[in-house]
Symmetry: C2
C-alpha cells in the first residue's frame, strides 16, 4: 500500500534531480475545447519524460549496499533512459536490457546517459529472463517501469506540482499505459487534493485498461497497433488495484483523434510531445459537453519523438 | 533616428498585447557548444514570432483617424499574421496583400486572425503596387515588415526582456533577414546594456547583410536558396545604417549547419522553432573558440513551421 508519507518522501527524493516542469496554456486550444486546460509539461523533464521521477525515487530508496551493485531494468522506451540518467546522477551503475531490434536512437540515448546496454531477443520473455540473469549475476536491484511502489510514488509528484501551482483544478487527465502515471496521480489527488477527479485516456486500439476496469481482471492487448507507443503495455498487479479504487472513468480515442490532438499541440503550443501525450487532449475534444467550462489539468507525459524522418526530408 | 525614448514607448505599447516569453536553457546544448546559452523563446510569442512586437508598436502609434482607416502590409510570412492579429487586438482593420501562390496554411492563419487577404501576382512589384492601391483607396496606413522606425523599436523589446531577466550577458546573437530584429536588438543594447556585443548570423546562401557590411551599400541576393525562409529578404534604408553603426560582425553558416542546429533544438529542448531561429546557434557551434565560456543570449525568432508533411507521414 502506498501512503501519503510515501508521496511526501518521493517529493523530497526527486528534489534537485528533476525539473519542476512548467505549466503551459493555449488560449486557442481552450477556445476550441470549450474549457480551461493547464498542461503540465513533462516533455521538458530531464531525459524528456515523467519517468525520470519514478526512476530517481526508486534508486533513492536503495540501501548503500544495493547501490553498489547497481540497478537493472528492461525497456526500450523512456524508462530505459530514465534509469540510465537517474543512476548516473546518483552514482549508481545501470544495466539496461534492450531488445536487439530496438531503434538505434534509443540505445544511443541510454549509452549517452552512461547506461550499459545488454542485448536480448525481442520478446518479453527474453527480456525478463535476461534481466533476471543480470540481477542474479551482478546482484543488481530490478526496477520496474511502472509496477513498483517507489516508481508509482515518484510519478505522483508531477500531479502534486501541478495542483500546487494551479488552484481549483476540477479534473486531471493522464494517459494510461502500464498505469504508473495514473496510479501516482490518483494517489496524489486522493491524499492532497481530493476534490480533483482523475480520468484516464487510452487509445481504442489498446483499450486494455478500459476493459480491465469493466471485467475486474487485468486484460491484455491482442494487438498493439497504435501510434501512442508508450501506451501499448498492460496494467500490473500493483497499478491495477489502485486504478480500480480511484479511477471511475477511462475515455477512449481513435488514432485519428490522437494525431489531430498531437498536431494541435505542436502547431499551437510550439512544443514537441509524444503521441501518448496527445491522448488526454483527444479525449477532451471528443467529449466536449462533459468538460464544458471545467478547469482541467493534463499531464503531457513526454517529448521523445524520433525526428529523423522529418529532418531527412527538409 | 530611433531614440532611447522610442524603445521605452515601445515597451509600454506592447505591454498586455504580447507575451513576456520565457528564457530557456539546455545543459546538453551548453555542453557541446562550450558556452552558456540563454534562448529567448519568441516561438512562444503570440502568433508564434517576435514580429508581433513590431506590429503592435506600429499600430499603437497610429492616430485615431488613422486607426479608423485600417492598416495594410504585404507579406507571406510572419509579419502578415502579426499585423492581422495585432490589428484585431487593437480593433483596427487589416488588409494583407499576399501572393496568389502563398501556402494556404499561411493565408488561413491570416484569415483566422481576422485579416482581409488581398491576392496579388507573386512578384515583389505586384505586391508593392497592390499595397499602394489599398493604401490609396482605403486611406490605410502601410506597415513595413522591418524598414520602419516603430517596427524596429518594437522588435528591440525582446532583447530588453532578455537582458533584464538574465544578468551579465556578454553577447546576443540574432538572425538577419531584413534587419528589423537585429537593428532593434542593437539599439536596445546600445541604450540600456552597452556591454553586450550584438552579433548577426546569416545563411551563406543569402549573405546579403554580410556583403553589405563589407561593401558599404545594400546588397541583394541573386538567388534565395535557403531553408531559413525568414532570412531571404534584404536590408532596408532604415535598418542598414543602424546595422552599419552597431554591428561589427556577421557570421555565416551553411545549410547543413542550420539543419543540424535546428534538429538539436527540437530534439533536446522539445520546442518547435523555424529554420531561421537555428542560424545563430549554428554560428555559435561553428565558431566555438570565439564563444568559449561566454554567457550568450540567442533570440529564437519564431516557431511557425508547416508540419503537414510530418503528420501526413505519421
Amino acid at each position: 500500500m502506498i501512503t501519503k508519507q510515501d508521496l511526501l518522501i518521493a517529493q523530497k527524493n526527486i528534489f534537485g534531480f528533476t525539473h519542476q516542469t512548467p505549466v503551459l496554456t493555449s488560449s486557442f486550444i481552450d477556445s476550441i475545447a470549450g474549457c480551461e486546460i493547464y498542461f503540465k509539461c513533462e516533455n521538458f523533464q530531464k531525459m524528456g519524460a515523467f519517468k525520470m521521477r519514478g526512476a530517481i525515487n526508486a534508486i533513492k530508496h536503495l540501501t548503500d549496499e544495493e547501490r553498489q551493485k547497481g540497478v537493472v531494468t528492461h525497456s526500450s522506451g523512456n524508462f530505459a533512459q530514465a534509469v540510465a540518467l537517474g543512476a548516473k546522477l546518483l552514482g549508481v551503475k545501470a544495466y539496461i536490457v534492450m531488445p536487439i531490434n530496438a531503434p538505434k536512437v534509443k540505445k544511443n540515448a541510454v549509452l549517452d546517459y552512461g547506461g550499459e546496454v545488454i542485448d536480448c531477443e525481442p520478446t518479453i520473455k527474453a527480456r525478463e529472463a535476461m534481466a533476471a540473469k543480470v540481477q542474479k549475476e551482478k546482484g543488481s536491484t530490478f526496477l520496474h517501469p511502472y509496477n513498483q511502489k517507489e516508481v508509482i510514488s515518484g510519478q505522483g509528484t508531477a500531479a502534486i506540482e501541478l495542483f500546487n501551482e494551479i488552484e481549483d483544478l476540477e479534473i486531471i487527465l493522464t494517459p494510461i499505459g502500464g498505469g504508473g502515471l495514473i496510479s501516482g496521480t490518483a494517489l496524489a489527488c486522493h491524499f492532497f487534493s481530493p476534490n480533483i477527479q482523475v480520468i484516464g485516456a487510452e487509445p481504442e486500439n489498446v483499450d486494455d485498461a478500459y476493459r480491465s476496469l469493466i471485467s475486474g481482471k487485468i486484460e491484455i492487448n491482442e494487438i498493439t497497433d497504435t501510434i501512442a507507443d508508450g501506451l501499448r503495455t498492460t496494467l500490473g498487479d500493483i497499478t491495477f488495484p489502485i486504478i480500480q479504487e480511484h479511477i471511475k472513468e477511462i475515455l477512449l480515442v481513435s488514432e485519428a483523434e490522437i494525431k489531430f490532438a498531437m498536431k494541435l499541440i505542436w502547431e499551437r503550443m510550439k512544443i514537441i510531445v509524444e503521441p501518448s501525450c496527445a491522448v488526454p487532449l483527444a479525449a477532451v475534444l471528443r467529449n466536449q459537453s462533459k468538460f464544458k467550462n471545467k478547469k482541467i489539468g493534463i499531464i503531457l507525459s513526454g517529448g521523445n519523438v524520433d525526428l529523423t524522418m522529418f529532418f531527412d526530408n527538409l
